[in-house]
Amino acid sequence: MIDFLVTWLASTPTFATPILLACIGLIVCERAGVLNLGAEGMMAVGAMAAVAVTLTGGNPWTGILAGIGAGALLGLVFGLAVVVLRADQILAGLAAVAIGLGAAGLIGKPYVHTTVTGIARLDIPGLSDLPVVGPILFAQDPFVYIAVALALLGWFYLMRTRAGLRLRATGEDPGAADVAGVDVQLTQLAAVIVSGAACGLAGAYLSVVASQVWVEGMVAGRGWIAIGLVIFARWSPPRAILGALIFGGADALTPRLQAVGADVPAYLMMMLPYLLTIAVLAVPALLRRGGNAEPASLGLPFLRQDRR
């Protein structure tokens, strides 16, 4: 029993890390007032680019950088569309998904189903051999720790720095931020690119670190789960860690329960992230207090001429 718990919890970060990485970027983006529904596509190009570069003379780390770059590039395209050209964010986001999936499939053709040497697990000396906590906390791959650090960094940036305050002001009331001297478009564009880069990193993690192979469609809906996680975390990076662990833990639990022969309602488990997200959206509304922490101007294009 204890073995089962340890192996389950030790495998949870592999599922939690990619959605957490994407989620942190998406939180920054939404806090700046831009709804980025393109996460799935940005993860797809990230996953493909990471493997492509790793296979063509690079190493896994340059591959990861390429994944970040590819995600950021698609982020830039999306950003230009919604921030500069003020395209509808929902439509442009869905278009970014289609572009990302299509581009990944097209460019990635020569690299499909080819295994890469990934990034090894980081066993922390002295701690990784500890019973129970060792394998769970101290024998994960480096990106598990990086994701947690990024979440805390994201929180610090958003809540404790002047630049973070400006970004949040942009998402709450771009008109007021503009009056206060914030360059709304530049802030939003930067936030969108950051979210693209984060999604690219998440995709690169899926291909180079978690499975060490790329196949078309391997993101398999995780981008949408990350978008759900933003709402579940109520736009707070530290809460996203908790949420990612819950979503990832459920994901990791299904195969492990099946492996011991338990009758798992697999389809129900696959619905769980979405059900939890709806619950988190519904609860504040039902309690009639607090609101749901959604940035007030999320999804609204900013036109300076329209400023009140």
């Binding site: 492990r256 492996a259 022969g261 389809y267």
Partner: protein, 378 residues
């Protein structure tokens, strides 16, 4: 929900022939009449139509390898179209173009083409149609699939012969009969070599998710499985076994590269062994599509095993070769009775053999499978 999940699932459904069972059943009800021999008009021009990318590491790649072999055998060039969606309008447009350009033998490669290809066959009675894992047949259309369970039984014997723990694992996509019979045959094969052997079977509910496949394999390894067989296409299941120093069995194409040390064999498709003689017959004249489609066994090598590696002991290999000969001779079937279900009830009594109708409706696990058949598939 994500588009990619749906397209990916659809794209791979062609590999499952999910409702071939239904199709066969309906064909029986419809009382399809045996047709007169098909007569090809004009010189043969052949085209293959794929529902997804050709280089998919599995189903389509195996099919395309067969296309190259058919080209060599017949000395003709074969046209291809890839990623043609499994819907009537898109498929019809592709067929229309080919027919206009004089193509008269069209090979579909997807379960999802079953209905559109039947429509095309009706619209173009002078064109011969073949469809892999399809469910529809007509006077100028034959669906084909292989008895994959025969190969998986032999692969199971190999797994049983090397397993120290008596536990093997099989990773599968969705609970459909063509997958279920692989799992059951694999388990029974393992038991033939190691009495009391158990097989952990897990459905990932996805055709394309290497992350999940790798993690699911790890879960099976953690539960004591020392052979991991994949019924899917991604490398990560074999990778996981290789990393833990355990054994692995691949599927669809040669997967040796993914687990060079631990691989036992791969269950592979060689569709050319069905396609070349069939197309030759179409060209020569005298081709009559099977009323309920072609369902070819391991004797045709359409589904086959790669030579076992040295991981499989010589005496086990000899016994497997004996069993294979018996299957090919028709004196043995992987589902010869008694076949006992997971819950202990008898599915096939001693002395009887599971017939094709029961095979296509297979919705239970046999005794020794660790895992649960999702309620929806029952």
């Amino acid at each position: 929900m994500s588009m990619s999940v749906f397209t990916a699932a659809r794209a791979r459904l062609r590999g499952t022939a999910l409702a071939l069972a239904l199709g066969l059943g309906l064909a029986v009800l419809a009382g399809a009449q045996p047709a007169d021999a098909f007569d090809l008009k004009g010189p043969p021009k052949i085209a293959f139509i794929y529902a997804a990318a050709i280089k998919d590491g599995g189903w389509n790649e195996a099919m395309d390898a067969a296309r190259v072999k058919v080209e060599e055998a017949l000395g003709v060039k074969i046209a291809t179209s890839e990623s043609i969606p499994e819907e009537a309008t898109a498929f019809k447009a592709a067929v229309d173009l080919y027919v206009k350009r004089g193509y008269n033998i069209i090979v579909g490669t997807s379960y999802g083409y079953s209905d559109p290809i039947l429509e095309a066959a009706k619209a173009y009675p002078d064109v011969a149609f073949l469809n892999a894992s399809g469910t529809t047949n007509a006077a100028n259309l034959e669906s084909f699939y292989a008895r994959t369970y025969e190969a998986w039984y032999l692969a199971g014997m190999a797994a049983g012969s090397v397993s120290g723990s008596g536990k093997v694992g099989m990773l599968a996509g969705f609970p459909v009969s063509v997958v279920n019979w692989d799992i059951n045959a694999f388990t029974r094969g393992a038991q033939a070599m190691k009495p009391g052997a158990e097989a952990i079977a897990i459905f990932t509910n996805s055709w394309w998710d290497p992350v999940k496949e790798g993690q699911t394999s790890e879960a099976m390894l953690d539960q004591g499985a020392d052979v991991i067989a994949t019924n899917l296409s991604a490398a990560s299941a074999l990778n996981a076994a290789e990393k833990k120093g355990k054994y692995a069995i691949g599927y669809q194409i040669d997967m040796t590269a993914y687990a060079p040390k631990g691989i036992l064999t791969s269950v592979v498709f060689r569709w050319e062994n069905y396609l070349t003689p069939t197309i030759k017959k179409i060209i020569a004249g005298g081709w009559t599509p099977e009323e309920y489609g072609a369902f070819v066994g391991i004797s045709t090598k359409t589904v086959d095993l790669l030579p076992f590696t040295a991981n499989v002991p010589a005496e086990a290999q000899a016994k497997i070769a004996e069993t294979r000969a018996a299957i090919e001779a028709g004196t043995f079937s992987p589902f010869a009775g008694p076949v006992v279900k997971q819950d202990g009830t008898e599915a096939v009594p001693a002395g009887a053999v599971m017939d094709d109708e029961k095979l296509w409706a297979l919705d239970y696990f046999v005794k020794g499978v660790i895992g649960t058949m999702p309620a929806a598939s029952k």
